[in-house]
C-alpha cells in the first residue's frame, strides 16, 4: 500500500518543541513525516525544498514560530516572504502546490502539531505519489 514520504522542516525553538509536546502528551499521529530540525524556519531556502522534491518526497512541510515569536526576532519573516513565492512557482511548474505546506506551530501547541501532521499526511496520501508525477 502507498505510504507517502513526507519531510518536515521544523524550527528548533517552536515547532520542534511542539512535536515534543505532542509526544509527551502521547498524542497519536501518522509516522510518515520525517522531521529535520533546523535552527529557524528562515533557514529553509527554496533550493532546499526543491531538492527535497527532487529526492522523491511526496510532500514537504515547513513549520516555524508564529510571526512575532521567532527566537531570532525576524527569521520567520523570511519564511513568510520566500515560501509563498516558491509555492506559487510550484503551481506554475505543474506541481501541485498542495504538496508544500507552511504553517506556524508554537512549543505549547502539541495538539495543533498532531492535527497538522495528520491532515497533511492524509491529503498527500490522497494524491498520486510524486514519482508518478515525475514520470
Amino acid at each position: 500500500m502507498y505510504e507517502p514520504k513526507i519531510i518536515g522542516f521544523l524550527c528548533n525553538w517552536c515547532s520542534y518543541r511542539g512535536a515534543d509536546t505532542a509526544g509527551m502528551a502521547r498524542l497519536k499521529y501518522p509516522p510518515n513525516v520525517k522531521i529535520v530540525r533546523v535552527p529557524c524556519s528562515g533557514r529553509i531556502s527554496p533550493e532546499l525544498v526543491l531538492r527535497t522534491f527532487r529526492e522523491g518526497a511526496d510532500g514537504v512541510m515547513v513549520l516555524g514560530c508564529h510571526i512575532g515569536d521567532c527566537h531570532y526576532a525576524t527569521g520567520n519573516h523570511r519564511t513568510a516572504k520566500r515560501m509563498p513565492v516558491l509555492r506559487n512557482l510550484l503551481a506554475y511548474s505543474g506541481i501541485d502546490p498542495e504538496r508544500f505546506y507552511i504553517n506556524w506551530v508554537s512549543a505549547a501547541e502539541g495538539e495543533k502539531f498532531a492535527t497538522v501532521i495528520h491532515q497533511f499526511t492524509e491529503k498527500i496520501r490522497a494524491m498520486p505519489p510524486f514519482s508518478e508525477v515525475v514520470g
Partner: protein
C-alpha cells in the same frame, strides 16, 4: 526607429565632454551590434551608433564602474535596462551618483517583441524618442489558462531541449553574484541532461530572480533552443508586485522585499495561514 538614432547621437555628443564615456550600442564591421563605450577622443565612432537589437547593458556598466571606481559614465538605456540599473544600485552594485541615464524610449513594435507593458523610462532626465504603447503579455496570460497537467507537460516538453548552456543566467542584466547557486552541485546536478522533474536549474533560477527580473526578455533571446523562459520570471514578478507591492527597479527609495521584515498588510497577501 530611424528618427531616434540622430537624436540619440546628438544627445551623446553633447554629453561626451562631461563624462568619461557613454555606454551604448555600436554596429561593428560585420554588421553585428555590440555594447561599446563611446569616448570623446574617438567621437567619430558615433557614426556607427546603433539601437537594435538591444544588448543587456546594466551588467556591462557595472563591470566598467567597478574597474574604474571614480569614473562618471553615461548609459543609453531602455526602460528594462533602466530598471536593471536602478535595481543594481539597491544591491550596492552600481553607484547611481556616477551614472547619467539617457532614456531611449521603445516603439510599439519593440514593445511587442519583448511583450513589454511599460516601454517608457521614468528616471532618465535626458530622453530620446516617444514611447509607443505597451502591450499585454499574451504568452504568459495564455500559459496561466493551462491546468496543472498541461503546465507540467508544457515544461517537460520545453526543458527536454535545454542544453544547460547557462546562457539565460550569463546574459541576464541582473545576474552579478560572484558565487552562483546554479554552479553548486548540491542544487544543480552536473552533467545531468535532460532536465529532471522538478527542473532544478530553472526553478532555482526563477526563485533567485524574485524581485530582480526586469522583463527584458534577453534570456529567451539567447536560449539556443527557444524555451519561453520569461514565463516563470514574469509570473513571479506579478506575485511580488501583488504580495509585496514591489516593482523591480521602479521607485529608487523602495528597498527590495528580501531586505526587510514584513510590512503592514503583506502577511495577509501571502496567503499563509493566520
Amino acid at each position: 526607429m530611424s528618427e531616434r538614432l540622430p537624436a540619440l547621437r546628438e544627445a551623446i555628443r553633447k554629453l561626451l565632454p562631461e563624462v568619461e564615456g557613454v555606454l551604448g550600442l555600436r554596429r561593428g564591421p560585420a554588421g553585428i551590434v555590440t555594447p561599446h563605450l563611446f569616448v570623446a577622443e574617438r567621437a567619430g565612432e558615433l557614426d556607427a551608433l546603433a539601437i537594435w537589437p538591444k544588448e543587456p547593458l546594466p551588467d556591462v556598466l557595472r563591470k566598467i564602474l567597478k574597474a574604474h571606481p571614480t569614473a562618471k559614465l553615461a548609459v543609453v538605456c531602455r526602460r528594462c535596462e533602466e530598471r536593471g540599473i536602478v535595481e543594481m544600485s539597491k544591491h550596492a552594485q552600481i553607484d547611481l551618483a556616477r551614472v547619467t541615464l539617457i532614456g531611449l524610449q521603445c516603439t510599439r513594435a519593440e514593445a511587442e517583441f519583448c511583450r513589454c507593458a511599460k516601454p517608457a523610462t521614468i528616471h532618465a532626465r535626458i530622453t530620446v524618442g516617444k514611447p509607443g504603447e505597451g502591450v499585454a503579455d499574451r504568452v504568459t496570460d495564455d500559459f496561466l489558462k493551462k491546468d496543472q497537467a498541461g503546465r507540467l507537460a508544457f515544461w517537460k516538453e520545453h526543458f527536454l531541449h535545454c542544453i544547460k548552456c547557462y546562457g539565460c543566467r550569463n546574459v541576464c542584466p541582473q545576474c552579478f553574484c560572484n558565487v552562483c547557486a546554479l554552479e553548486d552541485e548540491t542544487w544543480v546536478e552536473t552533467g545531468r541532461l535532460p532536465m529532471p522533474v522538478p527542473p532544478m536549474y530553472h526553478l532555482v533560477r526563477a526563485m533567485h530572480m524574485t524581485a530582480k527580473c526586469v522583463a527584458c526578455r534577453e534570456c529567451e533571446e539567447t536560449c539556443p533552443t527557444g524555451i519561453p523562459l520569461a514565463i516563470h520570471f514574469r509570473l513571479i514578478a506579478r506575485d511580488v508586485e501583488e504580495m509585496f507591492k514591489y516593482e523591480t527597479g521602479a521607485a529608487i527609495e523602495q528597498s527590495p522585499p528580501h531586505f526587510l521584515v514584513l510590512e503592514e498588510g503583506e502577511y495577509e497577501r501571502t496567503g499563509l495561514p493566520h
